[in-house]
Amino acid sequence: MRQRVVVAAALAVALGVVAATAGASTGRTQANKLTVWLQVDAQTGWPDVVAAANQQFQQQNPGWTVDVQYQNWGDHLQKFNATIAGNNTPDVIEMGNTEMTAYMATGAFADLTSAKSQFPNSGNWLAGLAKSAMYGGKLYGVPYYAGSRVVTYRSDLFKKAGITKSPTSLAQFVADVQKVGTMEKGVKGFVPMYLPGTDWYSALDFVFDYGGSIAATHAHKWVGTLDSPSSVAGLTAFKNLFDAVSSKSAATLDEANPAPYTVYSQGLTAAILGPAWFSCCTGTKYKSVTAQFVMPSHTAGKPIPGFLGGSDLAVPAQSGNKSQAEQWIADFTSSQNEQTLQAKGNIPNATNLLANTVNARAAARSWFVPQAKHWVDVENGNILRTMLAQILTGKLSVKQAASTASANIAYTLNQS
């Protein structure tokens, strides 16, 4: 019996020691660890840029480790909210430029205004992107990269149809794509252009091309403007394009399922509209015959205004490693890294780094979502997708669907 007690006591002491040292070692690592949340795009597209930044950071900060955790666009904000509740936020977080406002307005991010000069090229940041990281005259984020939207197309089919030049107007584009469609009529399931109906990023290009907009402020209140005559003209142009060149079954589909490049890589379409990096995944069979041009406007000679999507890097206010976080961001957004991003089909964060790429040319005309605290609720509530599905399935007229969406947007944006 006595022996057993001794053994038990010894075990307890051993366990206690293990627990104590484990605690101590975790504590020590925590103190010298920088946690970074990036989107999976970096993991699949430019892991070398991440590795280069980490290496540079570790040289400047001996003994520090960087824990890069990759997140998905769909649920990263919900996860981030959970870390805020648990006082366990990352030290650096990548935010979509449309997601910034709600968090800046509620004080989730640290003020980086005084540190601005330490970020490379901060004097030449892309205006659109820099604006998305400012709130109340203060800087809460560092532009990371942007992306414009272009047409990715099968040059072999265009050539076969006798088209040798990129179209310079929307009407020309429709005629060209239809020509290819007629030529490929015999291919089962082939659509001249694969356009997922509820892809609001593409649809709103037309709204802005016709001089329309999503919402505007009037006497400190948001007013929906999708039902204005110019917006309705733009939406009608989108419907006409869809009816002329796309598949009816795509009227209620979104750009994620199936991804347009998947349909393209199966040889079922001649053209897709989307981010320039779509060229990544067009399939080995069509890699050599894939090319890109800027989607033309209905006004000949101009590009259509494209959604300037992009990301910023922010430091959550709860982070205990603010200066290290700022340093990592500076390393990550160095000129060299931004140029590598450009080589991979993105737009770098500063004008002095811009090269003459199809992506940069497309960015010459661009649009952005209203900078409102509740914009993110408009996106999550799928107000725009519902409107597009109603228009393309013929359930409602363009004017009716746009009026309903406009009212919903105003209601959502004006919430307290």
Partner: protein, 317 residues
Amino acid sequence: MATAAGTTTKWSRRRSLTWRSVGRGSVPYLLVAPVVAVMGAILGYPIYSLVRISLERYGLFELIQHKGVYIGVKNFGSVLHDSVFWHTLLRTIVFAAANVGLTMVIGTLIALLLVKVSGWVRLLVTAGLVLVWSMPPVVAVQVWNWMTNSENGVLNYILTELHLGNYFQHNWYTTPFSQLTMVTTLIVWGAIPFVTITVYAALSQVPRELIEAAEIDGARSWRVFLDVTVPVITPVLLILTSLSILWDFGVFTQPYLLIGQPHITTGNYLMGIYLFEQGYVSANFGRGAAISILMLVIVAAMSVVYVRRMIRIGDVT
């Protein structure tokens, strides 16, 4: 005299409360105490927290401050005055009724079939059912997505090849009704194994001699089923139905993933999704808490039947 008798009774009662008897009497409570404590910690605190947050304005700003602002029952008021809540509740009730009905009918029919078939067929069917049961909902959603994809889904291909109509590039998810119908097929498919296996177990408890006696008395098989089999398996059917109602009322994973976030709108909300969208996606945690309390009340009211039946079964045995 009366007083004396009263005193005696009082005294004897007091006397019976010795330390030993107290100790003996409290043993059951002591044995239950750890469970109560654990349940209290696991369920009690979260429920207290939930109620507290439901009475507060608790959005992103409050989350960052770690402090909500007390606003009384305003969250409940705004939810109950929201037409989306009532539409969603009605839709969820119809959806749950359809799912439970289909699950119970098909599940019971397969169980009855299992009784009739030969041993190896039964083994084969049971193995198939267990495989279905063991598939995680997220994986099942992927399989469904793959089969019903409008661009290259195998369902469209087979239906077209069988000349059952032209389903080439047919989109199965165009309206809220069609979306929820697809979700129903997935949920019923996943729920049938549990019902079938449990009903089959119950059917094996029906005394053979009762059936034989009824048959000798000239009862037809339908009458035998109604008068002999059904009364024996009724408790099991009732419990299965009650459980299915609870599960299908609060279902989240299958509709959320199969319909997909980009297509979730107020037109196809179910209660579980409504709660998630309002509470988490819109970061309005106070309102989300109020919705979940309302759901808790509705589910509790529905489970009264289940609990009463359980208690009655407990009394009989």
